[in-house]
Symmetry: C2
Subunit: 212 residues, 2 copies
């Protein structure tokens, strides 16, 4: 956890919620999180899936917001953790990558977020997903050339897991096309977001952690 | 149901799904709809709500797609109706309004969609929401001056309900600000989509129909 002050300067700058974030947070404020719940927390990759249906588990709650960042999630976790859910599964960081935050700072900000979540609810078990590969040739030009950044973030997230008491869930290698090195085309329609096949694969990889 | 051929020309033109639609439909293809289910079907107003949580009812499934139109919903209802759900609640049409489809054609297309849904699953009870008011001064310029169109669509949807065997759920009057005649500011952050307060109001109005 070097450069902690540096990442705070970059990732924890005053957070400016946009109207979609404010709207979604106002909806979440009307919904409960309780002991026993399992929370899927993060950005559009979380939001765009009907997790409780896909996993066949009514305990699962979707707390995804399209476009969310590590700072955005940090801003709203108190509401979630105050309910002391059993488990929280985190997927966030790709929007920070697209905003040109240095990868080491993104990884440190995620780990700092996890520490904060532990402090808010010590009984909740925390899981951090690796970031997924993407294919910036469709139309996410802000991600061009940044697959190495994602791999570096993932390596750091894996390394930091034991010391910061979270389970790291490695997805990247399952979603990458081994021939091209980018997100496999069957899992996406836009190079970043996932198709039904993509979510089905994620669900298979997630199932053991939901069940444990 | 005058002008039926006319509405077919305007609303049932060859449907061109965008990548978000294709992605979401591919996800729905991995999920079941079964007898006993309650389906919330429509556009972003449906998609952006965690209905099963808000209503406290695990039977409720979200089949909303941001930006969807009457033609888009018609294209994908066979997958939903083949499961013979108990009830389907429909909210669609505002994107057709923004695309400058004449209001009479939108109302007729919605009624035609309902007829099609009855044919696909005769045992399913169908509910059609009125369209909501909006406030185009935020940034939805494509809706400017079209509140009268929405009111006309709503009047037609109410009139056609008995003959086409659906329940009409009037929301407009509950969401409009009586002083300004537009969507009340407490229910929105962008003039069109709903805050948590907006969804809480919708849920209260919906509850008797879910329970009946």
């Amino acid at each position: 956890m070097q450069d902690k002050n540096h990442h705070i300067a970059l990732c924890d700058q005053p957070f400016e919620p946009d109207d979609l974030y404010r709207r979604r947070v106002s909806h979440f404020a009307q919904l409960d999180v309780r002991n026993g719940d399992v929370v899927m927390l993060g950005d559009s990759l979380i939001n765009c899936c009907e997790w409780h249906e896909l996993m066949g588990d009514a305990r699962i709650k979707n707390r995804g917001i399209n476009g969310d960042t590590v700072a955005g999630v940090k801003h709203r976790v108190p509401t979630i953790m105050s309910g002391a859910p059993d488990k929280v599964f985190l997927m966030v960081g790709i929007n920070d990558v697209s905003h040109n935050i240095p990868p080491v700072d993104i990884a440190h900000a995620i780990v700092s977020l996890v520490d904060y979540m532990h402090a808010l609810s010590p009984t909740t078990r925390l899981y951090v997903h690796s970031l997924l590969p993407f294919d910036s040739s469709y139309h996410y030009a802000s991600l061009a050339g940044k697959l190495q950044d994602v791999l570096y973030i993932n390596r750091l997230l894996q390394e930091y897991a034991p010391a910061h008491r979270y389970r790291f869930i490695e997805l990247y290698s399952h979603f990458v096309d081994s021939a091209t090195g980018v997100l496999a085309p069957s899992y996406t329609t836009d190079g970043l977001h996932l198709t039904g096949s993509g979510y089905a694969l994620w669900a298979r990889l997630l199932q053991p952690y939901i069940a444990e």
